[in-house]
């Protein structure tokens, strides 16, 4: 053993190995925290999804939670709801493309003082908690429902007042009302990103097209959309994944609390209700793991579409 190592003196080393030590030290906090609070619960989740958690003791039941899930009507409903939400948010992406092209590029690229204000206003729903958005929309929907039942009809859940039921509480309408609100909430964020993309398209392309006699529809169809393809792909897939994630959980929780008979619930909200209200942690974990697999599959497809290859 070299003397320096024994006495703790600096040893002459290759710079690569010195960077190994500093590098590891720098990523160590992240690794420890991720191990404790991401990988450990992940493994725990996979394990307890094969258990029936409860008193007097947890019972191993194999894949029973999963087969129960496959037969569960409510789970099917929430899965379909999530996909419907995804279609709405995808529609929102394309709507915000038109917004970005026809409204935004006039205001935002003009460089006026107006620009910053418009951008800020447009970003506001995205930066606001879903608790506020849910509260606000519920109030918008039940406005004029009668003061004496203010407390009861606050959320629009109870329709004792004047016969007016909030569309958010109506079992047939709540899903689509939520979908429209999701479009509203994502519009500004999508438009901001698309605007940044549009502004990065070289102006000479548009000039060349104009000289060739292309009208605005043609330039939109043959220049704007193809050149925005990577951003559009990214936003579309993100929009489709969104209903399976935390943001949509909060949105559903705040807007409808799942709706009557899970009418407007997505899978993660169903999972949380199984865990928190039903204390059925095994079943909740099975739903969670399935949701994660769905999201990872779609993300993988996104990666392939965007980069055309793996790694």
């Amino acid at each position: 053993m070299p003397v320096q190592a024994v006495f703790g003196l600096p040893k002459i080393r290759k710079s690569g190995s010195r960077e190994l030590v500093t590098g590891l030290i720098m990523i160590m906090p992240f690794l420890i925290l991720a191990g404790l609070f991401f990988f450990a619960p992940l493994v725990e989740g996979i394990i307890i999804s094969t258990y029936k958690i409860g008193l007097p003791e947890d019972k191993f039941i194999g894949f029973d939670n999963y087969s129960r899930m496959l037969k569960d009507r409510n789970f099917h409903k929430t899965l379909i709801n999530s996909i419907v939400f995804g279609l709405y948010t995808i529609a929102g992406v394309w709507l915000s493309l038109f917004l970005a092209v026809y409204l935004g590029s006039r205001i935002v690229s003009s460089g006026s003082r107006f620009k910053r204000i418009v951008q800020s206003c447009v970003a506001l729903p995205f930066l606001t908690s879903w608790v506020v958005l849910g509260l606000a929309w519920n109030w918008v929907m039940v406005v004029g429902a009668g003061a004496e039942f203010a407390g009861l009809s606050l959320t629009g859940k109870v329709s004792v007042t004047g016969g007016s039921v909030s569309p958010l509480a109506d079992p047939n309408l709540s899903l689509h009302t939520c979908g429209l609100i999701f479009i509203w909430a994502g519009l500004g964020y999508n438009a901001l990103i698309l605007l940044a993309g549009i502004n990065s398209i070289p102006k000479d392309l548009y000039e060349a097209a104009q000289i060739d006699g292309a009208d605005s529809t043609a330039t939109f169809r043959y220049i704007t959309v193809p050149l925005l393809r990577p951003i559009l792909t990214f936003l579309t897939i993100s929009a489709f994944i969104w209903p399976f994630q935390q943001g949509a959980f909060e949105a559903v929780a705040a807007l409808t609390y799942g709706g009557s008979g899970w009418a407007a619930s997505n899978t993660v909200f169903y999972m949380a209700r199984q865990a928190i209200m039903g204390l059925d942690f095994g079943y909740a974990s099975a739903i969670g793991i399935t949701t994660a697999l769905i999201v990872l599959t779609i993300s993988f497809i996104q990666y392939r579409l965007l980069y055309g290859r793996l790694a």
Binding site: T22, P29, V140, A145, L154, Q246, A254, V268, G288
Partner: protein
């Protein structure tokens, strides 16, 4: 001559038509803009007027409060039963933002600037976490935290969300976009690693760090899902969870809820007004949701 005149007339007509057309288009854009901004603004407006004392439940609804009352705001900020949630919210958002930076900035620096074995695996790990819907592991995490006796404590709230793949990825991308020339020049001049990092690298990335701090602060200020799992006693609720719980209970004091909601969205709004450039750049550049 005749032909020339007709051509001229035609061209003038066309220009006139186009002018009319663009005028109509401008009007349409303006109308659509006004309608859209009304739809955009109305939900926020109704929260504020409800907090200020407008009765939103009579028919027709009040669009302005008949008697202006700020009592709800005062109560939520001074009543110890209510203001604990505001204080909790501030503690949670500030601590998690600082903690996330402390944990993720070094990791991102190592990913971007250092060459060591295993770096590629670490990057894959961050990407995998980024794609994973984190809410799914909140259920087993709840069980683990209750076993560690960490439920309903500040460390139990803050520690598990510090390893943020989103922030690490964002910072890594930003660091990558900054040329290494300055650091190399300083290195040739004999500067040490620490000097280069803090005197040369850090000033260059300060705007990006500021951006991500703002975005993280707002994201944590708005967080509902995580406290729902980990803060089960009312003393540990943050403001969103408290407002949410109150709004689903049959509370009559809707102006208090309105005031809470107003505080909840006014803070991000004020930050947006004061630092719109910083925040908007972050939204556009990252292209990712926190």
């Amino acid at each position: 001559m005749e032909v020339k005149k007709r051509m001229l007339k035609n061209a003038q007509d066309k220009i006139q038509a186009r002018r009319n057309m663009s005028r109509i288009l401008l009007l349409a854009v303006l109308i659509i803009g006004v309608v859209l901004s009304f739809i955009y603004a109305y939900p926020f407006y109704i929260v504020i007027i409800a907090a200020l004392g407008a009765n939103i439940y009579i028919r027709p609804p009040e669009f302005f409060p008949s008697v202006l009352r700020v009592e709800a705001f005062i109560r939520i900020l001074t009543n110890p039963g209510f203001n604990i949630w505001v204080i909790n919210s501030l503690i949670y958002s500030l601590c998690t933002t600082f903690g996330i930076l402390l944990v993720c900035a070094p990791a991102a620096y190592a990913l971007s600037r250092m060459k060591f074995r295993g770096r590629a695996y670490f990057f894959w790990l961050v990407l995998a976490m980024l794609m994973f819907p984190l809410i799914v592991i909140y259920v087993p995490l709840y069980i683990l935290l209750s076993r560690m006796q960490l439920l309903n404590t500040y460390p139990g709230y803050i520690l598990p969300i510090l390893a943020s793949p989103y922030v690490t990825f964002f910072l890594k991308q930003t660091f990558d976009s900054i040329p290494k020339d300055y650091e190399e020049a300083a290195f040739i001049d004999g500067a040490g690693r620490l000097y280069i990092t803090f005197r040369i690298f850090f000033p260059l990335v300060r705007p990006a760090i500021l951006t991500i701090s703002f975005l993280q602060f707002i994201a944590q200020w708005n967080n509902l899902a995580w406290p729902l799992f980990v803060a089960t006693s009312p003393q540990m609720w943050n403001l969103p969870l408290a407002i949410w719980n109150l709004s689903w209970s049959y509370s009559r004091d809707y102006w208090i809820i309105g005031a809470g909601g107003a505080i909840l969205f006014l803070l991000p709004l004020i930050m947006l007004i004061l630092a719109s450039e910083t925040i908007l750049r972050g939204l556009v550049v990252s292209g990712l949701k926190g």
